[in-house]
């Protein structure tokens, strides 16, 4: 059963404005391909601690610090790999029943 609202997704990095913005663009492309209705925001790790998204995406050095922040935490190494992120999102969102 799909979520009856827009999915809240957070792309994180250290500074919260350059790398994470690139990751947000990659995630938006991947979500569009998956046909998922989602809002993607980007921020730094410290700010992320005060947020409650459905999905967090970032490099392992950051997602390790914020594990537990969201039901789904996706660790990636390539910020620009749309196909790789799309595959991970498909798998993890399906587990949650968020992909129709």
């Amino acid at each position: 059963m799909a979520l009856d609202r827009q999915l809240e997704i957070l792309a994180v990095c250290g500074v919260g404005m350059g790398s994470s913005l690139m990751l947000k663009m990659t995630a938006e492309d991947a979500l569009r391909s998956l046909g998922v209705d989602a809002r993607v925001e980007n921020t730094d790790v410290s700010t992320a601690r005060g947020m409650a998204p459905d999905v967090v995406i970032g490099q392992g050095m950051h997602t390790g610090e914020i594990a537990g922040l969201a039901p789904v935490v996706i660790t990636i190494s390539d910020f620009l790999d749309k196909e790789g992120l799309e595959a991970r999102l498909r798998e993890r969102l399906a587990e949650q029943g968020w992909l129709s």
Partner: protein
């Protein structure tokens, strides 16, 4: 709109020097203040080598308040690659650097850069024969470049 700077064959003994060189290009172009290169190094010291976004490619940047004066993007190609200590993407031979005076005004520029990188910009930069080729490839990737 987005002015670019390019440097080729830059010698760097390690990642700190590489980051400083890449950020200094922005200072030299008048787009960032004197403290920006050190701020870019501190980003990695404090947060880890996450700025290595993809294989061999780093995006050197810091917060606008660390000295961003204008939106600008630079590319620096190293004479020899350096290790950042990244678990997957080392060693780094290409550094993109960017600065912005404001957290909002650079969004279009970075979005264009992200799209261009997904479409193979890093390979085009690596194939560029010289500094002019690097500058041209980067310019083509950015809006109104």
């Amino acid at each position: 709109m987005t002015v670019t700077v390019a440097a080729d064959g830059v010698a760097a003994a390690g990642w700190r020097e590489a980051v400083r060189e890449a950020a200094s290009a922005l200072v030299g172009a008048g787009a960032a203040g004197e403290g920006y290169p050190d701020a870019c190094v501190r980003v990695v010291e404090e947060n880890g080598p996450y700025i290595v976004l993809a294989k061999g490619l780093a995006l050197v940047h810091a917060r606008p308040e660390e000295g961003g004066l204008a939106v600008r993007v630079g590319v620096t190609r190293l004479a020899a690659p350096v290790e950042f200590g990244h678990p997957d993407n080392d060693p780094v031979d290409l550094l993109l650097s960017f600065c912005t005076p404001d957290p909002g005004v650079h969004v279009g520029t970075l979005a264009a850069l992200a799209r261009a990188l997904s479409a193979g910009l890093a390979d085009r930069l690596r194939a560029a024969p010289d500094r002019e080729g690097l500058a041209r490839a980067l310019k083509e990737a950015l809006p109104d470049g």
